[in-house]
Amino acid sequence: MAKGFTLWFTGLSASGKSTLAERVRDILLERGMNVEVLDGDVVRQNLSKGLGFSKEDRDINIRRIGFVCNLLTRNDVVAIGAAISPYKAIRDENRRLIGRFVVVYCKCDLDTLKERDPKGLYEKALQGEIKNFTGVSDPYEPPENAEVVVDTAKEDIEASVQKIIATLEQMSYIPATDGRGYSEEEEESIKQRLRDLGYI
């Protein structure tokens, strides 16, 4: 039975893709899975070094990440891609290529992103110092078929992580927390509910 799949984080710069990818990676590693993260920023320093931010270059970059994710996935590794990946067509192309493909859309409003702006990029983009900046001077096409949508402006990190993990469990891409289905704490809660109704 196939164990690998690709978890693909998409969203604007500073929307929380890398943070969530790392948190999810840690949880999956703890659960004994083989995991690799392909972070857009890191990939651009090696695999895609020299590529710019034109639509053509962005497409090449996302295709390359998708290509590697596919290799990992078919070898039973959980591949986590975290890249802005603004264009629907290329994301869908990767979905078709990989098959076991779960999209997490990191939604976040522009005001919050400008406030966060950890690399000062939004400020520079708004002042015209950076061209083709997604969300400011370049388009972002939100996914319509994301398996998970996290609103990082409103949710805290743990809530978003839980949503992602729950989805992966529901899709049976990862086993539930406990072989019997419930943790000890959950079993206690269930016992209490059953007692409350006289069922045990």
């Binding site: 409103k154 469990e169 539930a176 289905g181 059953l194 006289g198 045990i200």
Partner: protein, 435 residues
């Protein structure tokens, strides 16, 4: 010239957990539920048998699969681990056969299912699902997770707070109304948002009301009778809304077709609890390894039978259970002996047990090995319990209502057998939608 497109059929199923046939009929006849009265006026309301044993997890699992418990593998809210006898709690993932929603999905129909018990944690299905009892966290109750923020905005409540219900009956009534309102809002959200061919919503507040405040439902002089009826009016309003939404999109002349009302078991008043493990102990079939047992995991060697809720008796057969001591060839004789003695059990000067079924009489399927050897059905007023607490066989209870087996109901214009059982309905629904 254009080809005429065949209009796709749709179905809407409304579940009323624990509402007995006789009660629904009375509330319809006495104008407490006028919308329901209008729906059932032209006939089609039938008394229906729940699955055995008659608890929601078993009955709804039989409904959603159209299968016998020995096929779907759910025999109660609890099971025991064969080696340790520790209680375990079956999940939606333990369902051993596909749901009919899965079958509809294979035919290209999307399903929306809200609050059906025994569907936790939510899993991928063709459409959307919000799990019902014993759902714990909302995040694990919703598939796909993209619907979670909307449910959080509604303030969606999975269930009422049953822990508080006993101490605060008025608070329970408030809670029931508030919970029903969020259920209604969730139904509206999914109705509009999802492209469904099959829609199902289950109201579980009715079951909670009956457990704690059955006399308020049954007795006109009960101080909370008006509020209980007011809750039923709200339930009726919800049924009416669903009927109206459904018929807005139905072609003329098809009124009621594809609309189904049902309950998963009946209800009646309770006089006493009947503790089957205390009876088995008193009768020499069961021994405990300690004075204050907390579960059947505390049985001592030499125990020949033990009980699980609500009326399940397992013979402690060697090879089937870790501390089994009954030789397999002796199991049937012992089982028949227990069944015979159980029928003589009296509480409050009356026989407490109405029937005792053997597993072969009622179960059929590849999970038969996991089935209880006997399933007892009590007479009305005597609620069978699998607790290991207390040495008295007949004991007072703080609950007012208890489940019944033969008094569930169904209303449907789809073909339903003359003496329907809840597992019979799935086939008719699939046939209607896909046939």
């Amino acid at each position: 010239m254009r080809f005429l497109r065949r209009r796709k059929r749709r179905a809407c199923v409304v579940g009323l957990d624990g509402v007995p046939f006789h009660l629904l009929k009375r509330l319809a006849d006495t104008s407490v539920m006028p919308r329901t009265a209008g729906i059932i006026a032209e006939g089609g309301l039938r008394q229906m048998r729940a699955a055995l044993p008659p608890v929601s997890s078993v009955s709804w699992s039989s409904f959603m699969t159209g299968a016998n418990p020995a096929e779907h593998g759910i025999f109660g809210f609890t099971d025991v681990a064969p080696d340790s006898y520790q209680l375990r709690f079956p999940t939606f993932g333990d369902l051993a056969v596909p749901t009919f929603w899965d079958r509809l999905g294979e035919s290209g129909l999307r399903c929306t299912v809200i609050n059906q018990p025994a569907t936790y944690p939510a899993r991928r299905m063709p459409g959307a699902i919000v799990s019902g009892f014993v759902a714990l966290q909302l995040a694990n109750s919703v598939w796909p997770a993209e619907h979670l923020p909307a449910l959080e905005r509604i303030g969606y409540r999975i269930d009422v707070d049953s822990q508080k219900a006993r101490q605060d009956p008025d608070g329970l009534l408030d809670d029931l109304e508030a919970t029903l309102e969020t259920r209604r809002q969730a139904a509206r959200y999914f109705w509009e948002r999802e492209r469904w061919g099959y829609f199902q919503v289950v109201v579980t507040g009715t079951d909670r009301l009956h457990h704690f405040l059955w006399s308020a439902v049954e007795q006109e002089d009960d101080p909370r009778h008006d509020r209980a009826m007011s809750y039923y009016r709200a339930v009726d309003g919800f049924i009416g809304e669903l009927w109206d939404w459904f018929h807005k999109e139905q072609p003329a002349g098809q009124e009621g077709e594809g609309f189904v009302l049902l309950s998963d078991h009946g209800f009646t008043g309770v006089r006493q609890d009947v503790r089957l493990n205390a009876w088995l102990r008193e009768s020499g079939y069961l021994h405990y390894a300690k004075d204050d047992p907390t579960s059947v995991a505390d049985i001592a060697p030499g125990t020949r039978a033990f009980a699980l809720d609500p009326g399940r008796i397992h013979v402690n057969v060697k090879g089937r259970f870790g501390r089994g001591c009954v030789e397999p060839e002796d199991a049937r004789e012992l089982r028949d002996e227990i069944a015979g003695r159980l029928l003589q059990l009296e509480c409050d000067g009356e026989r407490a047990i109405a029937r005792v079924f053997t597993r072969e009489e009622i179960f059929e399927g590849h999970k038969l090995d996991l089935a209880p050897d006997l399933v007892a059905i009590s007479r009305n007023g005597f609620d069978l319990k699998g607790t290991t607490k207390g040495s008295e066989v007949c004991a007072d209870t703080h609950f007012q209502g208890m489940h019944t087996w033969e008094d569930a109901f169904v209303w449907s214009r789809l073909p339903v057998p003359d003496e329907p059982e809840i597992a019979d309905l799935a086939g008719g629904i699939v046939e209607w939608l896909c046939g």
